[in-house]
Symmetry: C2
Subunit: 359 residues, 2 copies
Amino acid sequence: MVCFQIEFSMLAVFAGLVNQPPNFIFKGHSMKKFINTVDNLLDESARGFALAHADIVRLNPEPRYIARTAPRAPGKVALVSGGGSGHEPLHIGFVGLGMLDAACPGQVFTSPTPDQMLAAAQATESGGGVLFIVKNYAGDVMNFEIAAEMLDCPHETVLVHDDVSIPEHQGMGRRGVAGTTIVEKIVGAAAEAGADLAACKALGERVVRATASMGVALTSCTVPAVGKPTFGIADNEIEMGVGIHGEKGRKRMALASASEIVEHLTQAIDDELKPAKGQPALLHVNGFGATPLMELYLVYDLTRQFWDRRGVSIVRSLVGNFTTSLDMAGCSVTLTLLDDEMIRLWDAPVHTAALRWGC
Amino acid sequence: MVCFQIEFSMLAVFAGLVNQPPNFIFKGHSMKKFINTVDNLLDESARGFALAHADIVRLNPEPRYIARTAPRAPGKVALVSGGGSGHEPLHIGFVGLGMLDAACPGQVFTSPTPDQMLAAAQATESGGGVLFIVKNYAGDVMNFEIAAEMLDCPHETVLVHDDVSIPEHQGMGRRGVAGTTIVEKIVGAAAEAGADLAACKALGERVVRATASMGVALTSCTVPAVGKPTFGIADNEIEMGVGIHGEKGRKRMALASASEIVEHLTQAIDDELKPAKGQPALLHVNGFGATPLMELYLVYDLTRQFWDRRGVSIVRSLVGNFTTSLDMAGCSVTLTLLDDEMIRLWDAPVHTAALRWGC
């Protein structure tokens, strides 16, 4: 079996550094993390997650996946997602009633392997087939494809590619970022309500088409296996359009006021979606991990003013750290144009570690 | 009226720096934040918060407080808290059904003023009197006392002082930190269920006695009005027992493995509470703002092992960023020894921006 474990090309250069001695954190690196060894980080963290949320999830240690404990109606479509760790709560924090049936965490910023995806799908399939929700990264896409080929039941895939910072037809195309949360919530509710596999896939693709995101980094993140920041950035610079692994954005810019920064994000999204006056929408301001909530609400206020001025009706909101990039300071803005069905599904009960309402 | 606006003594030295010119962020400071001007930060952020959660809260701009929109039963005790901003979601994120009736946000790390507290209490009092929940800082304590003196209805105060890093009878005594969330949730549920003022106060003090916390900083935070880190700390150092404004802890230590760091935190808490074998408890691992969730769950795993070995029964858990210190990397551990009533009240429905279940 050929497995693609590298989620984005930058990580290839780090590959040789993964097996550091256990005491690497004391060797004068600037990395300061709560960690014992890089090799055990995911084991210990996933075990803690499953223990803290034992009422919602269970951990299958090998191959590693997190599955919901809530019973499933026979014939319910099983929703399975996954990706590199370091973006928590995405995806494991979205496993539970009304959202994902299972999530497969890879090592930090590294795709999970097909055996994880296959095992998660087989464990949660309940007669309705399996829908994979996959963020658009080379490793994730290929490994989910390999798993799908080995899966002996009906299955479909929804590819999330909401990052408007890069052109649609460049390279691998657009990256899947914070819009993934919206897709997983809305399709999760539909699956819970009995929608069949084709309907779930069509709905997922409709949400993807209606969703656009863009992010900005104030600082880099630090991958534990590397021990130093992924990219250099000066004290007076920001990375506009950054990816959730620290991938290059649209441009390196001078640090600016929040209003100026937000204008770039919102204008790019508005240019993409072109919402009509009166269009209902969901506005999601997502922190990358190290940005205080106080600043995220300030960004929300500014984004809200932008679309209020254009007559877009923000009827649902989500503010907080949902699709993170380890310890990166920065945030992203996501807009999803909603229809009545999507609003109803967004409001439907959900019981996961990171999103919970109605139950 | 004498108002004490300084929440902790270190801020006194910053007082002259608050009125920076609007473009101070471009003057070569290392501070990188989503901000327009320091003077408008709280206005813009509070407005964003109220807009994002308009189904749960409303903002009174002057004097500034956040109040719940959910109707109150006549005679319900009104719970009012508050403190300096920069700890979000505490306290504004805990306003709503089953928790606080109102919260008064001060400027960053600066006590709110008595007129805010008085207005919040008067607006939410419903015939059952007012219970103030106050973290033990000089400015907060004095300003809540002034507000209480001016309040023309029955009122009581619960003082939260759960930080075991400092001795109980030193100076102002112990600081109120992440245990505040537990107090506000449990007393909030009791008030919602009709407990009277004396019962709410007694319950709050019981929870405070049953609760102990200790934190550790890997990095400093940066107060926007100051524009540089609150304290210096080397790449190979940590601050054990740090306060939530960056106050000095028990000792400056060398960076260590997560297991060693957690052992310090858990041992200090265990020494304080001395839980019996079989004692049910709530374990809260709280991030200070810039620590990835992946690391917080690893810390949870280690703390859980510590008390599992001692036969303490962790029956409820809370992991995430709840009592933050702006952009500080670090975390705290809180243990609350539970009785049946406290478990029932913890599980009761809550509908706030930051905690939501059962509705």
